[in-house]
């Protein structure tokens, strides 16, 4: 019983971080209709940003998070202006392969500049934990859950209550009609790509004290984001949140209940991804493509 409870608590805490990660990918797709295959690399850059802030300047990852997110978003803006913008009218395949290439370049530049060594960030809260009866909850996970929740709430507020947020949703729902409202669609594409990168970087900054930081950490994160987004239905934010918690639960349950579970947990995202693509390609909520 306490194992089940522990499993549930763990998966909820993990689900918070997964939500933030996948919402970034989902939002970017909802607006531009392009799946960002370099998304994992934005997460990785965020993690390195937090790592360097902490190791070079002694700044806590959470304090560094806004600056890291903005920095990576600006980098994404450069990527968009110099590459993606020129293939917006090309077939989807070209966009995928281009972003795949961008991801490869970023990943291997990171490996060359910062070596392939695994790094980790130490914070006052990354090694402590608190006990609730039999249940053990690491402080680091509580912190990430809270920060992720706040960031998602802020994002939803921004999307629904501000002029620009509405404009972004308008582009996602009907591009031509958005133009007729006087919305500059290209600018919204750029903005959504930057937001996508910023959310990825924020995820990475928090992953920096939960996981080890390496140049190759982005790829599994990308696959997990795919699994979540496909599970929830491409472009749907409520679906994405549901998908994030489902994946987190599935992974945690496998880790707890299956022999050798920790190794198999790594494969859950792939199994989920294949399973959903085969049986319910529109996602569990069965929604059409939409944002929020």
């Amino acid at each position: 019983m306490s194992m089940l409870l522990q499993c549930l608590v763990d998966s909820i805490l993990l689900g918070g971080l997964y939500s933030l990660m996948a919402v970034g990918l989902s939002l970017g797709f909802g607006v531009t209709r392009i799946i960002n295959f370099a998304y994992g690399e934005f997460i990785m850059l965020g993690a390195y940003g937090a790592f360097f802030c902490s190791s070079l300047a002694g700044i806590d990852p959470l304090i560094a998070l806004p600056a890291v997110a903005i920095g990576v978003a600006l980098f994404a803006a450069i990527v968009f202006e110099f590459s993606l913008r020129r293939v917006l009218r090309a077939p989807a395949i070209n966009q995928i392969l281009l972003l795949f290439g961008v991801g490869l370049v970023i990943q291997n530049l990171a490996a060359i500049l910062w070596t392939g060594d695994a790094r980790s960030v130490e914070t006052p809260y990354s090694l402590t934990a608190r006990e609730f009866g039999d249940i053990n909850v690491p402080d680091g996970r509580i912190v990430t859950f809270l920060v992720a929740t706040v960031l998602i709430a802020a994002l939803l507020w921004w999307l629904h209550r501000t002029e620009l947020g509405r404009a972004i949703r308008a582009v996602a729902q009907n591009r031509d009609a958005a133009v007729l409202m006087g919305i500059n669609v290209m600018r919204m594409y750029l903005l959504s790509f930057m937001l996508n990168a910023a959310l990825g970087a924020a995820t990475g900054a928090m992953a920096s004290f939960l996981l080890t930081v390496t140049p190759f950490m982005g790829f599994p994160m990308l696959i997990k984001s795919f699994a979540i987004v496909v599970l929830g239905g491409l472009g749907s934010i409520p679906g994405t949140l549901a998908g994030a918690f489902l994946l987190a639960f599935a992974e945690t349950a496998v880790a707890y209940y299956v022999p050798d579970g920790i190794g198999w947990a790594e494969g859950v995202a792939f199994a989920v991804l294949l399973g959903v693509l085969i049986f319910r390609p529109r996602g569990i909520l069965g929604q059409a493509v939409e944002v929020a």
């Binding site: 002029e163 509405r166 009907n174 007729l180 409202m181 006087g182």
Partner: protein, 252 residues
């Protein structure tokens, strides 16, 4: 008096097919002009070129004496052109209020948002009742009201209406065109594309009949009606289809 909208020798089309061969028309300030013609005559294309969704291949479009060709589509809203597109194109997953607010996204309209919103809600009381409703879940007539209201939120000087009667019940057509008449009374110039010539004639003073991407006839409504050119333009391609549609509608 200079024309508010002046189109001369306009040519436009899609990748390999030219839809508009040679279109010239004018809309004076405060005037309601009808654009008539069969399916495929180029009415919707004309509207899309005026708003900049499609680039013109030749000819000129001047708005208030200024050349529009260098202005990107989203900037044409700023100078005062708003299109209520064919098929309404509301934002389906947003509330009615959000749709209206998006209508006044451009800067000059945003400054006058509260006052415009009041006027639009007065014109279409239904939109006030449904303010929180998801636009995609409303009836076709309500969506049409929303689409017109949304276009009005941009405080346009020229309102382009593309087939506002499409798919609406006769009662709803009456309601929508009643509102169009009120908009015209408020001094907003209107260019309206219609298949339903009778509805268009109820508000317009002048009209153009398009056929094969050219202006086949032009004149006051009375002249057009008398000359029989409206019927001529419709017969063959569209007349029977409309009859069929009317039958199936009354049957339903």
């Amino acid at each position: 008096m200079t024309a508010l909208l002046e189109i001369a020798g306009l040519r436009a089309g899609y990748q390999e097919s030219i839809v508009l061969e040679d279109i010239s028309l004018q809309v004076q300030i405060g005037e309601v002009v009808a654009l008539l013609g069969a399916n495929g005559a180029g009415k919707t294309t004309t509207m899309r070129v005026i708003t900049g969704l499609i680039a013109a291949l030749g000819g000129t479009i001047a708005f208030d004496g200024e050349d529009l060709s260098r202005l990107r589509a989203e900037r044409r809203v700023d100078v005062g052109i708003a299109l209520c597109p064919e098929g309404r194109q509301v934002f389906p997953n947003m509330s009615v209020m959000e749709n209206l607010l998006l209508g006044s996204f451009c800067r000059h309209a945003r400054a006058r948002r509260a006052a415009t919103l009041e006027l639009v809600q007065e014109l279409f009381p239904r939109l006030t009742e449904r303010s929180a409703q998801k636009a995609g879940l409303m009836s076709g007539g309500e969506q049409q009201m929303l689409a017109i209201g949304r276009a009005l939120m941009a405080c346009p000087r020229l309102l382009l209406l593309d087939e506002p009667s499409l798919g609406l019940s006769p009662r709803m057509v009456q309601l929508v065109f009643g509102a169009v008449a009120k908009i015209a009374e408020a001094g907003i110039s209107i260019l309206v594309v219609e298949q339903n010539a009778q509805a268009a004639f109820s508000v317009a003073r002048r009209g153009y009949v398009l056929a094969g991407g050219r202006v086949a006839a032009a004149g006051t409504i009375a002249e057009l009606a008398r000359s029989g050119q409206v019927e001529q333009a419709f017969i063959g391609t569209d007349f029977f289809k409309r009859e069929g549609a009317a039958c199936s509608k009354s049957g339903a």
